[in-house]
């Protein structure tokens, strides 16, 4: 048995009841002996830790609601602990902890951003050769489409002044649609959480003026509407095509901007009033 095989045995079977081959290897390998000693020390230390504190019910309510929203789970078992009225969890969840909400939103967005980047790397690394396809570009000047345009303009497949096939060959193969990586459920949850936290923060904004300044108020609210429209557009698109990476990146950027805008709106209100 080699060191790597022993590591695999330790991972799958734990520290106890090692097979005879593993024991034989351990007897003659100081490196693996050290590894086993370290793992044993970690296990002992971990057992000394106090038991994990049970998270509050509202966390489970939120997680379950999000999972149901995303279609990851469908059953509707009660998640609130017995004896606690359902409205208690909801009320706790909606407590106006505005700054905490924004902070959580930012964290969720940052985590989402990390996942998106991580996902993006994986996408490139796991691309597989498939049938070559031409570059889709327009050769002549075009007019910018209106934002309300539903379908992308049809472009002639004509690459950079060379025949399409040549360019496609020079650029190498492109991945097939089947190999486009789907976002992981955790990534979706992060996105869902970001949206949820940001929406709740937005709903806690005062309806009256935020600042002492009508022009600034109008600009802030107008830009919030702009962002919300863009986010809705990206969300609708992602619902249709969850593996659309470009849309995902734009959605992530829009969430970050919204989190910053809400923070700025809340700060304005606090410093003025």
């Amino acid at each position: 048995m080699q060191c790597k095989e022993l590591e695999a045995v330790l991972e799958s079977g734990g520290l106890h009841s090692l097979p005879s081959e593993a024991r034989a290897h351990l007897a003659g390998c100081s490196g693996c002996q050290d590894l086993l000693a370290d793992l044993s020390a970690i296990v002992v230390a971990a057992k000394r830790f106090p038991r994990e504190v049970t998270p509050p019910d509202r966390v489970w309510v939120s997680v379950r609601a999000q999972l149901e929203l995303e279609g990851i789970i469908r059953d509707r078992e009660p998640v609130v602990a017995e004896g606690v009225p359902w409205w208690r969890g909801v009320a706790d969840f909606f407590r106006p902890r505005v700054l905490a909400g924004v902070g959580a939103g930012l964290l969720a967005v940052l985590a989402g951003s990390y996942l998106v980047e991580h996902h993006g790397t994986g996408h490139v690394a796991e691309s597989r050769p498939a049938s070559p396809a031409p570059v889709q570009v327009s050769q002549k000047p075009t007019i910018a489409p209106a934002p309300s345009e539903e379908k992308p303009a049809v472009r002639t497949a004509k690459p950079l002044g060379q025949p399409a096939r040549e360019v496609a060959a020079a650029q190498g193969p492109r991945p097939t649609a089947a190999l486009e990586l789907r976002p992981s459920p955790s990534e979706d949850i992060y996105f869902g959480n970001s949206a949820s936290v940001l929406d709740k923060t937005e709903s806690s904004l005062p309806s009256r003026e935020l600042t002492n300044n009508a022009a600034v108020d109008a600009a802030l609210r107008q830009n919030l509407r702009t962002l919300n429209e863009f986010i809705a557009e990206c969300q609708a698109r992602l619902k249709q095509n969850p593996e659309d990476q470009l849309t995902r990146e734009y959605l992530n950027m829009a969430y970050q901007q919204k989190a910053e805008l809400l923070t700025s709106m809340l700060d304005s209100g606090r410093s003025e009033h």
């Binding site: 991945p175 300044n213 009508a214 600009a219 107008q222 849309t247």
Partner: protein, 297 residues
């Protein structure tokens, strides 16, 4: 009409006019702007911070003296301006003294600054223009609805606006711009690192790309336009989901010769290519706007 009646009416109109003027006088006096000049002697490279949470312009120009001169124009009694100097740090705050929603001109503080050429800036305003000329140093400029105009500045430049636009002429160093509805125009730059992001604004980059430079420009719904010169050298990656890639420089762009496999998404229109040797890296994207690439004459 009897002469007595005429006299009484004349008197009444004189008294009425007097009453009107006496009532209106404080109001007019209240909107009279006042100018105040403060001088701060500095030794080395100063850091000037202006936090203008009312409206107003901020103009910064450089001079050869080791002194920062701040000229403030405001309506007394409506805006409070506090300034302090700690070493080479000069910190200025302007805040409103009145309650209730006001029109922008009513709560306004305008700043004109003269600073040494090597100065770091951190400026924040709400609706007024921020103008910076011939200053070398890192700067962070923030505005809600005010535009930002930079001319011949260099350093690490961070610009954040909610709706204000940026015009950056002859800038060098590194630029980061982030806005929701503001656009960005980068003209004749010598920037080695550019990162521009706007949700609905347009982006125009008209100038050379520095060798080994990194240029990322993204717009959600706006047009992203790049005008390069024939002597430039860069790899290009342009992507749009619902817009179009308008390549008006097909004669200068050739397929990427560096052997990198570009994975084209089935969801977007993409263009990969190289100009010259491909020393710099240019990444453009627009969610639903046009990406236009053209060569300057």
């Amino acid at each position: 009409m009897l002469p007595q009646q005429k006299m009484v009416r004349g008197l009444l109109s004189v008294v009425g006019a007097g009453l009107f003027l006496s009532a209106a006088a404080p109001a007019f006096a209240g909107t009279t702007e006042q100018q105040e000049e403060r001088h701060f002697t500095v030794k080395d490279r100063p850091m000037v911070i202006i936090n203008n949470i009312v409206n107003g312009r901020i103009e910064v120009k450089s001079w050869k003296n080791h002194e920062v001169v701040v000229t403030t124009t405001m309506v007394p009694g409506k805006v409070a301006v506090d300034a302090e100097q700690v070493g080479d740090r000069i910190d200025i705050n302007a805040s409103s003294l009145v309650d209730g929603v006001r029109q922008p001109h009513e709560v306004e503080a305008n700043f004109q600054l003269l600073v040494p050429e090597q100065t770091e800036l951190q400026l924040r305003t709400q609706t007024g223009l921020i103008l910076v000329e011939q200053v070398n140093g890192d700067m962070k400029l923030q505005s809600v609805a005010g535009d930002i105009n930079l001319k011949e500045v260099s350093g690490y430049i961070i610009v954040k606006t909610t709706g204000g636009s940026l015009v950056c002429t002859l800038c060098s160093g590194r630029l980061e711009f982030n806005s929701i509805s503001g656009g960005a125009q980068i003209l004749q730059p010598s920037l080695s690192n550019v990162n521009v992001m706007t949700t609905t604004g347009n982006i125009l980059y008209d100038g050379d790309f520095v060798r080994t430079g990194l240029y990322t420009m993204n717009s959600g719904r706006g047009v992203v336009e790049v005008r390069f010169s024939g002597t430039d050298s860069f790899d290009l990656n342009a992507q749009t989901y619902r817009g179009t890639v308008d390549n008006q420089a097909a004669d200068f762009l050739k397929p990427d010769t560096h052997g990198k496999h570009h994975s084209q998404s089935k969801f977007s229109h993409s263009l990969f290519g190289t100009v010259g040797q491909g020393f710099a890296k240019v990444e453009l994207s627009s969610y639903s706007g046009t990406i236009r690439i053209l060569k300057r004459d």
